[in-house]
């Protein structure tokens, strides 16, 4: 690498580390420090005592099992959907791709109540399986999207060659397609696992505290007991989860590969079993959403549009008292879109920059170690509790010029911290798959590092980046934990407003919450659908 190129890489890495340090490591570190060293010196015995409690061990075991099973289910159900939505060509594909992402933005309390009413009286009521189903509902899109984007980039002629040589479809999939998809599948599994292991609202609503997880426990320890020692011990467990998952996933490295994005082939009769599997996923995703639509249209025994008309208002208080919320759901939607756009921009800047950096293979061992640490650090926000980050902001960012505790700026930053890992996990497999010879050839032909970056990396990453931006946007729109913690009534986002409405006694508030959730889902689907159409057009074959 040239001197200027190396300087640029280190400057980029420095900026990323600085951002991560200020808005994540420092705030979270402050809380952990208070828990680990309450008297100023490290008290590991205290941490050990917390970790050895039977309750802690049970909760860790339950969290791991729950997340592992839900991740597996997401993979099994999400892979057929990834194939159908990203390898087959049919009308309405763009709309379906967008619809799959809708669960991401739905507030867990409203979905939880929908599931709960649905399961009431069935064998699923109050069971662990109900939680797993709900986790799949929220996270199957991670697999569909992440794997689908990679699948779309794979040259189909290799599969066709295998088929021509007599391999049956199963054999072709197992020995040709699957190995090439492995990095993307690993990426999707990491994200799904970390999301499932930090799931909060839906676990509480469907399982009570019977099936407490590390996340619900940390929430209780910090917000109810102020037991920072135990909360820090469990936060360290979460950090270990992240590191372990990354280590496991790092074993599925991308191999360099020529990418020839295809717009997919027409549907054949042989695709029927897969399409049926996708329909089953569709039913799981649709049922709670349909029940929310129904609930938003009911009043007493009849049908009404009054809850939809009420979206411009602020809900009802009890007996004509002050309303549940300070801004109407429509205003809150405006806030949500603004925050999510800002969050997506930050997440894309972090994600694209980090992916380019991390896809490089530095010659020095130290360089590789720095990059490995950076990769781990950037994934941490997915695995660390939002409430710990929120408390961290309160105690860390309290001195000018960083007295941001009362500032809305922290909302998109916190959203971006959660969304950036998804961008990285989507782009990194693609960029790591770029043959280094391509870059060397370009450099040998006299291209500057910037030129190499623009015409090779950015060009190859452009389409997946557009798709990742859609995913990041959905994550930012739906991010609840940190947003709710940082949110103020006057600039509340729509998910926060929905949660408030659902939790406030008052005639029609729950129906209004449902109408608002359906609105959020519809707006998300429209925004992402428009993006998909644009992406699809650019890809459509000319002849």
């Amino acid at each position: 690498m040239s001197g200027a190129g190396r300087w640029a890489v280190w400057a980029g890495a420095g900026a990323l580390v600085a951002f991560l340090a200020v808005f994540f490591l420092w705030p979270v570190g402050e809380i952990l420090w208070r828990g680990i060293a309450p008297e100023g010196s490290i008290d590991l015995a205290g941490i050990g005592e917390v970790l050895a409690r039977p309750r802690t061990l049970r909760i860790i075991g339950l969290t791991l099992a729950q997340a592992a099973i839900a991740t597996l289910a997401c993979l099994v159900l999400g892979m057929p959907a990834a194939f159908v939505l990203y390898r087959l060509r049919f009308r309405g594909r763009a709309a379906l791709r967008a619809l799959v992402l809708v669960p991401f933005v739905l507030p867990t309390v409203v979905v939880g109540v929908a599931f709960k009413v649905l399961f009431a009286g069935t064998a699923l009521e109050g069971t662990w399986l109900a939680i797993i189903l709900a986790l799949v509902f929220f996270n199957v899109a991670v697999v569909t999207r992440t794997v689908g984007i990679a699948w779309e980039e794979l040259d189909p002629s290799i599969e066709e060659a295998a088929a021509d040589l007599g391999a049956n479809p199963a054999r072709t999939f197992l020995s040709v397609t699957l190995p090439r998809l492995a990095p993307a599948i690993a990426s999707a599994a990491i994200i799904a696992f970390l999301f499932c292991s930090t799931a909060f609202g839906v676990v509480l609503v469907l399982g009570g505290t019977r099936f407490g997880t590390v996340e619900t426990e940390i929430w209780m320890l910090t917000t109810q007991y102020l037991d920072l020692r135990a909360a820090s011990a469990l936060s360290l467990v979460q950090v270990v989860f992240v590191v372990a998952v990354l280590w496991a996933a790092s074993r599925a490295r991308s191999r360099p590969e020529l990418r020839t994005p295809s717009s997919g082939r027409p549907v054949r009769l042989a695709d029927l079993p897969l399409i049926l599997a996708v329909l089953a996923v569709g039913v799981l995703l649709a049922v709670p959403i349909v029940s929310m639509v129904v609930r938003s249209l009911r009043a007493g025994d009849g049908w009404t549009l009054e809850h939809w008309a009420a979206l411009a208002g602020v809900g009802t208080g009890v007996g004509g008292g002050a309303p549940a919320i300070a801004v109407s759901p429509l205003e809150a939607l405006g806030h949500s879109l603004l925050f999510a756009l800002a969050g997506t921009a930050v997440a894309m800047a972090i994600g694209l920059g980090a992916s380019i950096l991390l896809s490089r293979r530095p010659a020095s061992a130290r360089g590789r170690r720095v990059l490995a640490a950076l990769e781990g650090g950037l994934m941490l926000p997915l695995g660390v509790s939002a409430v710990v980050l929120g408390f961290g902001y309160l105690v860390a960012l309290d001195t000018p010029p960083l007295d941001l505790r009362a500032s809305p700026v922290l909302v998109p930053i916190a959203q971006a911290l959660v969304a950036a890992p998804l961008v990285i996990r989507t782009l990194l497999p693609v960029l790591r798959g770029v043959d280094p010879l391509l870059r060397d050839a370009a450099a040998d032909l006299g291209a500057s590092p910037a030129r190499v970056l623009a015409s090779i990396d950015l060009r190859l990453a452009a389409r997946p980046a557009a798709a990742a931006a859609g995913l990041a946007f959905a994550v930012c729109l739906g991010e609840f934990g940190a947003t709710a913690f940082l949110s103020r009534p006057e600039w509340a986002t729509l998910p926060v407003v929905i949660e408030r409405l659902a939790g406030h006694p008052g005639a029609g508030n729950l129906a209004l919450a449902n109408a608002a959730a359906v609105l959020l889902a519809a707006v998300t689907a429209l925004a992402l659908g428009a993006g998909e159409l644009g992406r699809d057009r650019r890809l459509s074959p000319r002849g």
């Binding site: 600085a18 951002f19 340090a21 200020v22 490591l25 420092w26 570190g29 402050e30 952990l32 309390v109 939880g112 109540v113 709960k116 009413v117 009431a120 509480l204 609503v205 009570g208 505290t209 019977r210 619900t216 209780m220 910090t222 917000t223 109810q224 007991y225 102020l226 037991d227 590191v243 990354l246 208080g317 009890v318 007996g319 008292g321 002050a322 640490a373 781990g376 941490l380 408390f391 309160l394 309290d398 000018p400 010029p401 960083l402 007295d403 941001l404 009362a406 500032s407 809305p408 700026v409 709710a484 913690f485 009534p489 408030r500 659902a502 939790g503 006694p505 008052g506 005639a507 729950l510």
Partner: protein, 355 residues
């Protein structure tokens, strides 16, 4: 693999990063130029609400402007105040309740409003547990709510006491919130502890469990998904909620009230205000605490937050006569006893109620 978290190194890194975000901070700092008159920040919980213009009356009276900042539920509010002791989040706090009061003592200045009279004395906290720092503002009760229609349809007499709830005649009819994750859930547990003593409540809860009590995580899912009331979708006619909840079910003022309150099952939550230690405007902060006890605020409290004002001479809205219940003798516990035992009680309760 992840960078180790050492305060010194972090501080250095952070210092470098300051320049990166200084622009952001400069754009967003809403409090950089303090107005000529004092400006107070009133921190409170998410359920805080006063009618438009009420706080303007304070500004008109004193020239002091007030900014309201909601900081989450009552528990989060107190914990955030404790954590930010060295650099307080505001000047005045409203919404510390009796279950968290003794935890907040260290972050408050000694001050109780002189506007309180003997009539409000029962709401004051004991000395040493916030009695000299927290001014009571309002109170409400957490009670078992009953679906009158459900019992009427079946010709079954409604239960009345806590003991009745463990009666096999009322098997599988009660839904409560988890004491670990819900504030009404904790209040109901405290009611049973006050009723049966810290040695007797465990047996009572074992009976409740044998009698099929259902434990939900929070108020939303207990009330809307498990309770059988008119605006709910569940099948249980008894739910732990607020004494004011029945008023929310009144859609037709001429019809009988569809739900009610079991008055012998209630736990009283009193909410307090105080001056946060370290405020730059202690005199103005005291004025604001006094203002919360003024007729302007006290008469607005029932309609805005649907709890009772503590000032006994306050005139209540007419609509309260029909549906709102003024519980005469609710269960109560000392704040210090609650704070000292909270975690143990919740753990023991979890082991019994959610095995």
């Amino acid at each position: 693999m992840e960078p180790s978290i050492r305060p010194f190194r972090l501080a250095v890194t952070a210092a470098i990063a300051f320049s990166l975000v200084a622009t952001l901070a400069a754009c967003s700092d809403s409090r950089e130029d303090p107005p000529a008159a004092a400006h107070l920040v009133l921190v409170t919980h998410d359920s805080f609400a006063l009618s438009d213009g009420v706080l303007d009356a304070f500004t008109a009276e004193t020239g002091v402007t007030v900014e309201v900042q909601a900081l989450g539920d009552a528990g989060s509010l107190v914990n955030k105040l404790v954590l930010t002791k060295g650099s307080p989040l505001g000047d005045v706090v409203f919404g510390i309740d009796n279950t968290f009061a003794s935890r907040a003592v260290d972050v408050l200045e000694p001050y109780v409003s002189g506007a309180l009279t003997d009539a409000e004395a029962p709401f004051l906290l004991p000395a040493g547990q916030g009695g000299d720092r927290l001014t009571p503002i309002d109170s409400g009760d957490v009670c078992v709510n009953v679906d009158h229609e459900w019992f009427a349809e079946r010709g079954l007499a409604e239960p009345a006491t806590l003991a009745d709830l463990a009666d096999p005649a009322y098997r599988d009819l009660l839904v409560v919130e988890s004491a670990g994750t819900s504030s009404p859930g904790l209040s109901f547990l405290l009611a049973t502890i006050a009723a049966f003593g810290d040695g007797g409540w465990q047996d009572y809860w074992a009976d409740l469990v044998d009698n099929g009590v259902k434990v939900d995580a929070g108020w939303t899912d207990a009330y809307y998904a498990s309770f059988s009331g008119p605006s709910s979708e569940g099948d249980r006619p008894l739910v732990v909620s607020y004494s004011s909840s029945p008023a929310a079910e009144v859609l037709d003022a001429s019809a009988p009230v569809p739900t009610g309150v079991l008055e012998a099952t209630c736990f009283r939550q009193t909410e307090f205000a105080g001056v946060i230690a370290g405020t730059a405007h202690p005199a103005e902060a005291r004025l604001l605490v006094d203002f919360l006890l003024s007729p302007t605020v006290q008469s607005d409290i029932p309609g805005s937050m649907y709890v009772y004002p503590v000032v006994q001479s306050t005139v209540l809205p007419e609509t309260w006569a029909a549906a709102a219940v003024r519980v005469e003798a609710p269960y109560e516990l000392d704040p210090s006893e609650i704070d000292a035992n909270r975690e143990r009680w919740i753990e023991e309760w979890s082991a019994i109620a959610m095995p």
